[in-house]
Symmetry: C2
Subunit: 273 residues, 2 copies
Amino acid sequence: MKQRTVFFVSDRTGITAETLGHSLLTQFEGIRFKTVNLPFLDSFEKIKDAIIRINEVSRRSVDRPIVFSTLVNPESREMIASAEAVFFDFFGTFIGLLEQELRVQSSCTMGRSHGLVDNIAYGVRMDAVNFAMANDDGAVTRSYPRADVIILGVSRSGKTPTCLYLSLQFGIYAANYPLTEEDLEKMRLPVAVAPYREKLYGLTIDPERLQKIRHERRPDSPYSSLRRCQHETRRAESLFQAEGIPYLSTTTLSVEEIATTLLAKTGIERRSF
Amino acid sequence: MKQRTVFFVSDRTGITAETLGHSLLTQFEGIRFKTVNLPFLDSFEKIKDAIIRINEVSRRSVDRPIVFSTLVNPESREMIASAEAVFFDFFGTFIGLLEQELRVQSSCTMGRSHGLVDNIAYGVRMDAVNFAMANDDGAVTRSYPRADVIILGVSRSGKTPTCLYLSLQFGIYAANYPLTEEDLEKMRLPVAVAPYREKLYGLTIDPERLQKIRHERRPDSPYSSLRRCQHETRRAESLFQAEGIPYLSTTTLSVEEIATTLLAKTGIERRSF
């Protein structure tokens, strides 16, 4: 199989370069990509070291390496472009066009580069993560007035990862509360969440999928029986419908997709990029 | 202040379009950007609705809207390009050049689009999140043989968010264990983690910063005194040095930066993109 080495270069974490680069690479079958992340290239010294590394790979390979870059600094971009590789400039390709469109010079052109994604409200995100951890699985409920969203669902429907992702990635204050057998028998909202109806969002899941997940956790228990999973999810969905609570099925969704869908449907705005 | 509406369009979550787009926009001062995420545009019907929305904004605005796109499907890209907006094609700009370089047609050109970032090992990530939650703060230690990394540090040095991020974003099995006063007095690794020396990674933090964080949690307690914070961080750093455990300071780093640095230094490979 053909092989190519791919470098992700960035003056910050390189996560954007990796994500976009990876999405481009997955469109190509029959080639093995060996990927190397070179993050935090925030000095010319580090850029020079990166070029040496890229050139070494180039000399040992049949085909030249690929470089995906989100470098902001114009001199750094120019330097990396001189390496023995094919250079895909995710940042530089667009910044000039954006300057034309906005009829304003950018900070990086003026030598006052901001770096990539640097104006994140760090404090808010960490506070949101602490909130999600403290408000997991209905542990405490007194902070609900501060919550942006309170996620409801049966055990293992995806509540915890969704709340963690919302807090870590978007700085959103997300609590979650389990629907118990008792709630589902009575077909009533748990008392603790009922006063916050406008913040509630439901998760459901295909019972067969739920059965598998629960089985891994507690094999061959009543908790992981298909019958119980069917019963619980059916009642939960009926409850959401009866109470007019928006909900979605997590069966085929990644945690990013659940979180993004929730934001799109509720209109809650992310606090960090 | 001048104002522009910015749309992020994607056939998936739009997170990549938002992140790269946001990093470009932060280079421009003096313009207020109103951002709208239009995710999951995975049918021509939805693309048409998006175009209607963009065109409505265009008609109401002095300047045309900006569209940042990670759409994979070539027909979708062509359709969105016809909207009354300036179109920045984060995906299409590069896929053709990449085809030339690789001398292979891409799946999306051949109409077998993979979508953006769809081959994530969902199961692994969710398992990793469960692992991080179960192995938070030294709660249990019997799963350490499965851990990719065990993070050590004093209370509030950033262990929990780091583990959650490593698991959610990268599918890495990350446990964390607190360094207690007793450990720091004895200057010995906690017994539970000592057998896993090669998996250990330390976090430290500037004592003034730690004092602020602890003060928010427990105001004016011995726990949040500057003296205690200075003592604990000094001892923790000495312990890391004496035991040859790599460590970094989280004082000025975002959780992405901590996680990415840890990967770069340890060579642990991410399991998901």
